[in-house]
Symmetry: C2
Subunit: 367 residues, 2 copies
């Protein structure tokens, strides 16, 4: 096999492919990038058995063939090469040569015989959405998936496609994040749970350009994201997702409008007195036109008043400041509206257009 | 005590003072910043018993007094405050209040009774040098001090003041770095060993402006750096420094002129095949007009040709690539000159003006 690509193109494709390379694997070939130069174009393929990536590389094939190279080694070498044409070639024993200008590297490669190619996914139904929009809703919800293995369903996000809208939902038992976004084209209604890890990786691969689209194909066990040069296939999480709509009520007794940045900065200051792992809440006391935020811990105390607009009852309620900040960070609006019922019931942050709903459970407090 | 300062001024002074706060100390008061508001101006003092810092803070004293506050806590709080006036006050029990706009913090402070103030240093002799110049020569030599405790002398740098020039020297047994720089004013010739830790910290405090000066005062046990708002006192390392001038010979058998960036990039590529801790050398083969760099390791092999200008004998010599790169990084010249005698003798990199000399010992190699 022999291919020639510009260093910059090579690096771009390697960086995409690296996202599906496991850090350590029982099958060493999975730590490789498979270079497939048997078609018209050069393809890099990686697969960590949960997610697989195939990306097209700009370049020239002078000798067709297949070759697997340790992904980290290839990436490290290419990164340090001059900005010029790079030639990667291998002989019948899979000895690899990488040449660029006067630099000549020799490393060992593999045949790639036992490499796990991407599963074939049928493309019956298709949903098309802007890469930017998809990336945003992932980033605005991914923080509230659960990291542990206590509940597999919580490690993923619900993708609900219905009437040309995509609703993305994550929850970890303390809070729920819901984002709704328009789909460009769709010929299906569907509901699947996508692994959080997959979403984190594809959010890094997708561009920030509104005109770039991604096609999404869903089968019983897989989801496929198709971008112009890159295809990503991921397993789905099996099971019935939580009945989130039943947890979300439209009722409230206090409605509070507050400047988002002021509120976020104030809570951020309060986090100084919360040590990792201790569950010290911030206490919010909502009265007419004012919110008093206070925290007391062995480290010290803080309190601060914030101007608000309030409809409904006065209320004192406690929150984990971390959870509140995570939700606020995901919102771009200048002012936000909190809906609360009492100190034991969840607080909702939602906009009038129903583009987002963030639910945060309150925390018991004493004083 | 009660003082009021702008948040930005406070933060600037805290960041300077933090550089002499030990991470953990048997004397908790040393983890504090001492606020001394008993003079005309506000002073922050910190001391880790090897180095002490006193810095003046822009602000207003409304109630004179002394107060010690945990440095990390003070820094964390001030960092998160709005950009406005900050008031720090304490009562007779050293309860501290920090107020800024509507945010009110309450933390515990200390009397500072048992705080270690800076030692008094006599100012008989004075050396004045540009902060920028001093900072540069520190950064260009500090990488070759030894980190361990095997030889205390090697953990410091020799400051040699002679005839209006400062010579700074560091060595770790594998290499020597020497930089020479002009002094603006001086009434002394002297030779002391300054702890590397002190130099690292002051290089971060000094500005990058050529017109800002620092006065240096030296006594038997201490060195004092005096900048417009900040004074730093450090212990000196006791002992007789190595006779470096005897190790540096003017003789050579091969003189090689090489483009610095090309040489550095090429060695950098070779480091891919050197794992942390293994002592794989790069092998340089200097012939007429050409340097061939090669490395071979279980990970792979690399070789590359570089254009050079050579006077004298052909030579093949091995180096630890890390040491060579460190020296090259510290040099700003476009082209550099290597002076070598044989594969067992040190390689010198030095300029014609004698502003710098870097010595790197060769490494045995087999092939």
């Amino acid at each position: 096999m022999k291919i020639t690509c510009l260093k910059s193109e090579l690096l771009k494709s390697i960086n995409i492919a690296l996202r599906a390379v496991p850090v350590r694997s029982t099958m060493p070939v999975l730590e490789c990038i498979l270079i497939d130069a048997t078609h018209q174009d050069i393809r890099f393929i990686t697969n960590d058995m949960e997610m697989g990536i195939e990306t097209r590389v700009q370049g020239r094939i002078s000798e067709p063939g297949v070759l697997a190279i340790n992904a980290k080694m290839l990436s490290d070498i290419v990164r340090k090469l001059p900005d010029n044409n790079v030639t990667i070639s291998s002989d019948e024993n899979y000895n690899v040569r990488i040449n660029c200008e006067k630099a000549k590297f020799a490393i060992g490669g593999e045949s790639g015989e036992d490499f796990a190619y991407l599963p074939v996914v049928e493309r019956d139904t298709c949903v098309t959405i802007s890469q930017l929009a998809l990336r945003q809703v992932i980033l605005q919800t991914i923080f509230s998936i659960a990291s542990g293995e206590t509940n597999k369903l919580m490690t993923g996000e619900l993708f609900e496609i219905k009437n040309d809208r995509l609703r993305v939902i994550s929850l970890d038992g303390h809070r729920i994040s819901i984002r709704r976004v328009d789909i460009k084209e769709s010929n299906t209604n569907n509901k699947v749970i996508v692994p959080g890890k997959t979403l984190q990786e594809i959010s890094k691969i997708m561009t920030g350009d509104h005109d770039d689209m991604v096609n999404i194909y869903i089968t019983e066990n897989h989801i496929l994201f198709e971008m112009p040069d890159t295809t990503i296939v991921s397993r789905l999480i099996d099971g019935e997702y939580f009945a989130v709509d039943q947890m979300i009520s439209g009722d409230y007794e206090s409605k509070v409008k507050i400047n988002k940045k002021t509120f976020q900065d104030c809570i951020d200051r309060a986090t100084l007195f919360v040590k990792e792992g201790d569950k010290k809440p911030i206490i919010l006391e909502f009265t007419e036109g004012n919110c008093n935020l206070s925290i007391e811990s062995p480290l010290g105390a803080m309190n601060e008043d914030i101007d608000i607009e309030k409809d409904g009852k006065d209320l004192t309620i406690g929150f984990n400041p971390r959870f509140m900040i995570d939700a606020l960070k995901a919102i771009e609006d200048e002012d936000i509206t909190l809906y609360m019922t009492n100190a034991k019931s969840p607080c909702f942050i939602r906009d009038d257009e129903d583009n987002y709903t963030y639910l945060v459970l309150p925390v018991n407090f004493t004083r």
